[in-house]
Amino acid sequence: MNGITLFAPELTVVATALVVLLIGLFLNTESKKVLGYLASAGLFASLVLTLMNLDANAVMYSGTLTVDALSQFFKIVFLIVALLVSVASIKYTENNEHVEEYFTLVLLAVVGMMMVASSNDLLVLFISFELASISTYALAGFERRNLKSLESAMKYFIIGALSSALMLFGISFVYGLAGTTNIPEIAQNSAMLVSSPLGIVSIVLLVAGFGFKIALVPFHMWAPDTYEGSPSVVSSLLAAGSKKMGFVAAFKVFMIALVALKTELTMAFAILSVITMTLGNVIALSQNSVKRMLAYSSVAQAGYISMAFVVMSPMAITGGLFYILSHGFMKAGAFLVTAVVGYMILSENREAENVDHLENFKGLAKRMPISAFSMMIFVFALAGIPLTAGYMSKFVLFSSTIEAGLVWLAVIAILNSAISLYYYARVVKYMYFYPAEGERVSEPLPYALTLIAAVVGVLILGFWPEPFIQWAMEAANVLIAT
């Protein structure tokens, strides 16, 4: 009986998705604006319901689903990101005839992510993963008259399909060896995994499968093209939401199910995370498209977060989780700013191309002060400037590597973080120190609201991290204890 109450958040989102789709049929294009409000309301309700059940702890439906501190943590991250994206999308989808499809896809993607966070069985995990993936493939190509958007969707789809295949293949090996797809039971039968060389094969396949979603080097090639080509609001959902889904899946599979193969994992992740953060930061240095720069920075951030898999101490996982929460605000916010800038450029010139070019950020402080200020906070947070969420998370995560005696890893991460300052500061310079080339434009209300909400999030996490760190610790304990 508990199941229904505990899954109320997911059910709310599903119901909202269906209602939005249905109502959309009967509305004309002008009045479809209401669908955006409806979707946002649904997400908000779901967020409230999740918050009410924060301390829940249960395994349900024949052990296929679980609700614990970890799943609740990720669900809240997903819902916050989705809420930001959906409110911003109210403006983005204005006067579009496919509003209902857009919001339905967003909502279904979120359900997929939330189910991944709750899954306790590899098959459920895979199906939820696919639900989220397929919805986002379609979202990436939402601007169907924009060649770049279509290209990005195509690339994302093909590579995503490949990664799903690899992941499924890996799961099949695990099933073959352990005789079950239930995550805790796999952990109990881990002897089979360790003794067989196929255990390593399954790990390689699973790392590849999740690595695509997380955008770890060398599985990252799709990310810059997709983030650049997709509508900015969708990029925001991909970078801040869908990527985290990869992380929660990886946390569950590697830290609970395959923990017996820890030593192999540690080395693999150490190499992957170092390459990922270095490559992401170095390539980001030379980007002139802000979205592409953010995409590479997102690759680099994935590298930092992956350090949690290397260290695997409670402190590291707390840091990784806290980083995921902060990253949700920072990255979602930064992509939303590019959406606002795109709106500004397109409202002047319908035919404009490359709207996210750095040139278009010139003098943004004069043209759209709220967006410029928010962007400054987001990039400073991403760079890890003190008193922002990014600093706090880097502080916890990087210090945990020292605790574990991996000084070399901390040194590499810290040097990377120093490099990244250069390209982040460049955006601020363009916004604040170059003369404006256009009139002042006032931000549409939905955009302004989401930006302010994300800024507040980033600053609260930076100034007053205590409760969130406690909360991340509880979530981390779920992974450690089992």
Partner: protein, 495 residues
């Protein structure tokens, strides 16, 4: 009681934000001046109520911040930090007055950055928690970076980036040291804390000498790059040369590197695995800076670059005095920080005036300026004499204390420094002679003297140079109290 110290950090920061949002130059400079004057009043109030006879921390404020990681918001001052806070609070208002009428495309940001810098620097001096310390430490980078990259000279972008990356990397090395200190202490006591005093005490009982040395070197690296000492000074000439004058003064007031030596390095120095090696490292770096800085300054054509190297040379005394490890040499080093802040501020302001009024700051292209600029010449004579160490001025007090007392432990180094002192006198006098005295260079045309705003601010600081030169006790007393406390740790360690 009022949280005076927190107010002293917050007032400049709040006024910085207000200044950013002002519309006109008039509003910007008035707001900034108001903010800095309030800070000055607060700092003077603290100074009046400060007890120089005790070495413990005063005006302490502690509140919880992130208990699960042992992070607290704790601030306080003692004889090490009080004079430096006072220095900042005194110079900043006069810096704003000095910049009162300067041409400036973005006055709101310019004055805002000055105040932001003041808040951040005072924050570093007041912080008693490593986390807070590091936050403020890093915050000081941002205003300086923008100061150089926006208002700087022709090569500003390069200089700003070089400064930023160089010192940022050094800070990150320091951060590694802090982490190591934090975790080693955590595993020792079982509870996390970032409290500086607590961690420094814990350091004494760490077991592995290698860990202790590694922590010490990592922290030391962060500080000596910031000071900077030879051979880690190469960011400084570029940054100082390209920076606007206000930026130069802010750089000069950025005494956080030297402060780190007194607050963090000296208390743990006796407990490292190889204290004698560490002392030698510091003494060598200090001596090399003094001599190297002096020689390079002698060969400079650009006035500002000359002062930049003079600064490297002067800061060498801070490091040498710390390594001297006698109470008077350490207080001499502290006093050198204070005195250097006053003297070099005025020296940079003078060069700024020469640059704008005569159109160049290449020393050989000047000449006989005293005929057209008598007021500037008078002020420059005072600060140049102070800078080369003429008795009766602050520079002498500091260098005398450092040299005579360091001789006890480091006689060889002190003898070597004597060469540097001769050169120091030479380049100061030679630069003055070529630029201010002699035949007036007619190519310069009609050169104006100081404006009233400039004379006011430069004269007041120069008077302070004379005042503290004749009567250093108001700040020296508290420095001696604290350096005695620091040096007493030596006997605890049995070094």
């Amino acid at each position: 009681m009022l949280p005076v110290l927190s107010m002293l950090i917050l007032v400049p920061l709040i006024f910085a934000v207000i200044t950013f949002f002002t519309k006109t130059k008039e509003q910007a400079r008035t707001t900034a001046l108001t903010g800095s004057v309030i800070s000055l009043v607060l700092a003077l109030y603290m100074y009046m109520n400060f007890d120089s006879s005790i070495a413990s921390l005063q005006f302490v404020e502690i509140s919880k911040w992130v208990p699960s990681l042992g992070i607290t918001y704790s601030v306080g001052v003692d004889g090490v930090s009080m004079p430096l806070i006072l220095l900042n609070a005194i110079v900043i208002p006069f810096l704003i007055i000095y910049s009162w009428n300067e041409e400036n495309p973005y006055p709101n940001r310019f004055f805002g950055l000055i105040l932001a810098m003041q808040g951040a620097v005072i924050g570093v001096f007041a912080a008693l928690d490593f986390f807070l310390f590091y936050v403020f430490w890093e915050l000081t980078l941002i205003p300086l970076y923008f100061m150089v990259s926006q208002w700087g000279g022709p090569n500003k972008d390069f200089a700003a980036i070089k400064f930023f990356i160089y010192t940022h990397v050094a800070s990150l090395v320091m951060l590694l040291g802090i982490f190591a200190l934090y975790f080693t202490a955590w595993s020792q006591t079982g509870s996390p804390t970032f409290n500086i005093q607590e961690l420094l005490t814990q350091f004494q009982s760490f077991e592995a000498p290698l860990v202790k040395d590694a922590i010490f070197i990592a922290l030391l690296f962060g500080f000596i790059v910031k000071i900077p000492t030879f051979p880690f000074h190469s960011w400084l000439p570029d940054a100082y040369t390209e920076s606007p004058i206000a930026g130069n003064v802010l750089f000069i007031l950025l005494k956080i590197g030297g402060y780190g030596l007194f607050r963090i390095m000296l208390p743990i120095l006796p407990f490292t695995g190889t204290p004698n090696l560490m002392i030698s490292i510091m003494a060598v770096l200090g001596t090399a800076s003094i001599i190297y800085g002096a020689f390079v300054a002698l060969s400079q054509r650009d006035f500002k670059r000359m002062i930049a190297f003079a600064s490297v040379s002067h800061m060498g005394f801070v490091v040498l005095g710390s390594a001297g490890l006698v109470s008077l040499s350490v207080s001499g080093a502290m006093f050198q920080q204070f005195s250097h802040g006053l003297i070099l501020s005025v020296m940079f302001m003078s060069v700024g005036v020469i640059q704008t009024n005569a159109g160049t700051r290449i020393i050989n292209q000047l000449g006989g300026l005293s005929k057209k600029m008598p007021k500037l010449a008078l002020i420059m004579v005072v600060v140049f004499m102070a800078s080369l160490g003429l008795p009766g001025l602050t520079g002498f007090v500091a260098e005398f204390l450092v040299l005579t007392s360091s001789y006890v432990n480091l006689p060889g180094y002190v003898l070597a420094v004597m060469i540097g002192i001769v050169i120091t006198a030479a380049y100061h006098l030679w630069a003055m002679q070529r630029s201010m005295f002699g035949v007036y260079n007619e190519k310069l045309g009609d050169v104006k003297d100081l404006t009233n705003y400039q004379s006011l601010s430069m004269a007041v600081i120069s008077l302070l140079v004379i005042y503290f030169g004749l009567n250093p006790n108001p700040v020296l007393d508290m420095m001696i109290t604290n350096s005695e406390h620091i040096v007493s740790l030596l006997s605890v360690a049995g070094v």
